[in-house]
Symmetry: C2
Subunit: 291 residues, 2 copies
């Protein structure tokens, strides 16, 4: 797993998230599969309506994050689908199949690191960033950057940012923070968007965080909860900045409900985002861009 991670890291640093890294992504999923095949399944008590979770436990006793039973599919089939999307065939897959495939691949890679290295959370976050960047790179067909030039009177320099995908002059620019979970830290996403709105003008960047899940596992009781702050989200959307969408792999029901109140915060799945006629495709179409 660690060798596969290092190999992917080198590819990403050298070539970005394009086709050069696809074989390393496949190798990493395979390494995760090997690690997880030696684990035991541990049932968890879900307190979340309509969702069941389990964890995987390694021989060392280290336990993975909670895994959503109905979203977690065959890892080999999911890997094939994931790679097919990277190869530009996302329109051949349904929204639900895309969500399940991306969830399965992402949570498997994170879980494999959970069970081999104690109290490491950074590696999983970085890996999840790479997987999402590769997916969006394949969909938008442009490379992301992680900083922006600021030239504003006497203030000039590089502003570090989350992933920015720039579709070109007078075309949409996407601001895509990628997080394995957010809780109260999500206010940072609205705040960064506010800075972009302020420096470059409101509406220049379309912000969409991509988030794995909001589950939390109580180590003692093995109970899984979802930490959601829907009420705060509404205040942030009204008073800090306006996010284009919030995209989940394992979407919390509490947040999906925000689609139905006015003014809405639009919460979508990764499948709804990437599939044929999905949100990204509609936006590209509206701006005369290839999709």
């Amino acid at each position: 797993m660690k060798t596969a991670y290092k190999d992917l890291q080198q590819k990403v640093n050298r070539c970005g998230f394009g086709p050069e890294c696809h074989s390393s992504i496949r190798a990493m999923i395979k390494a995760a599969d090997t690690v997880l095949s030696k684990c035991d399944r541990l049932p968890l008590t879900s307190t979340i309506p309509g969702k069941a979770y389990f964890a995987l436990e390694g021989k060392s006793g280290l336990r993975s994050r909670p895994i959503n039973s109905s979203l977690f599919a065959s890892l080999q089939e999911s890997a094939d689908r994931f790679l097919d999307i990277l190869n530009g065939n996302r329109r051949a897959h349904s929204s639900d199949d895309i969500t399940a495939a991306v969830y399965t691949v992402a949570v498997a890679c994170c879980a494999a690191i959970d069970v081999i290295s104690k109290s490491d959370r950074k590696t999983q976050g970085t890996l999840f960033e790479w997987l999402c960047a590769a997916l969006i790179r394949a969909t938008l067909r442009v490379c992301p950057t992680r900083s922006l030039e600021v030239l504003n009177l006497d203030l000039r320099g590089k502003l570090p940012t989350d992933f920015i995908f720039d579709m070109g002059s007078e075309k949409p620019k996407f601001h895509l923070p990628v997080k394995t979970s957010t809780r109260e830290r999500i206010i940072q996403v609205w705040a960064h968007q506010r800075v972009l709105d302020g420096v470059y003008g409101a509406g220049r960047f379309l912000a969409m965080p991509i988030i794995l899940t909001e589950t939390k596992l109580d180590a003692k009781t093995l109970a899984v909860t979802e930490i959601c702050l829907p009420w705060q989200w509404r205040l942030y959307q009204m008073h800090i900045a306006s996010l284009w969408n919030v995209c989940y792999l394992d979407a919390p029901g509490e947040y999906l409900k925000l689609n139905n109140v006015f003014p809405p915060v639009r919460v979508v799945t990764i499948g709804d985002m990437l599939a044929k006629d999905g949100h990204i495709e509609q936006l590209l179409l509206a701006h005369g861009l290839p999709y």
Copy 2:
């Protein structure tokens, strides 16, 4: 130390940060002194111009956070001064003496927990919050709250906040987040202030984070660095919200320089804030409030 912490916790939960908790604060400082007196002093390599640091190491091998050599004074004298300030005699002490006393008490309590409990950071953060809340409670003579009522058309409920000290109708209200260090997380303070500005009107709340330090210790090389983002702070202050002051116990030079650029972000020490004719006193005076 743990007994002293629990005792203070009970007092704070039952009586807030008023005189009832002072004896428990003194007991906790004493417990910290006992823990630290059994530690060895470990010299550290400072990469920060003009500042030297050391750490304390317990018999178990656990090491404290970096401690600023020139700010760290006699813990017993600092405790006496700290309690004297809590008793309303802050005007009797110079700004530098206040900063050193508050720094010494705060860093000693945090360091004592560092060397007795591995990978715990939450307890230290909570303890630092209590110490600062008691100091500000003694200065402003009102009790803090940690949530605000929102009544805004069909949106109503309780907004959780950092410490809010409300001086009354048509008087200043203070928004005081307390953090042991901030790094890139400080954008949350600007974002929360933006929400308060939006919900209640700009200028209703005066925001001032109180921060212990921005030092970081490299566990391998024993080098101490300061993580500062002065350039981002200026963008946040211009584009998200306007903080009244940023208050440090161990103020980074990089941030103090922000006082000298236009538009400034005002960065001050806890002594400059609390001392006779200091920033808080001037503000209270200007609004006809007792000080």
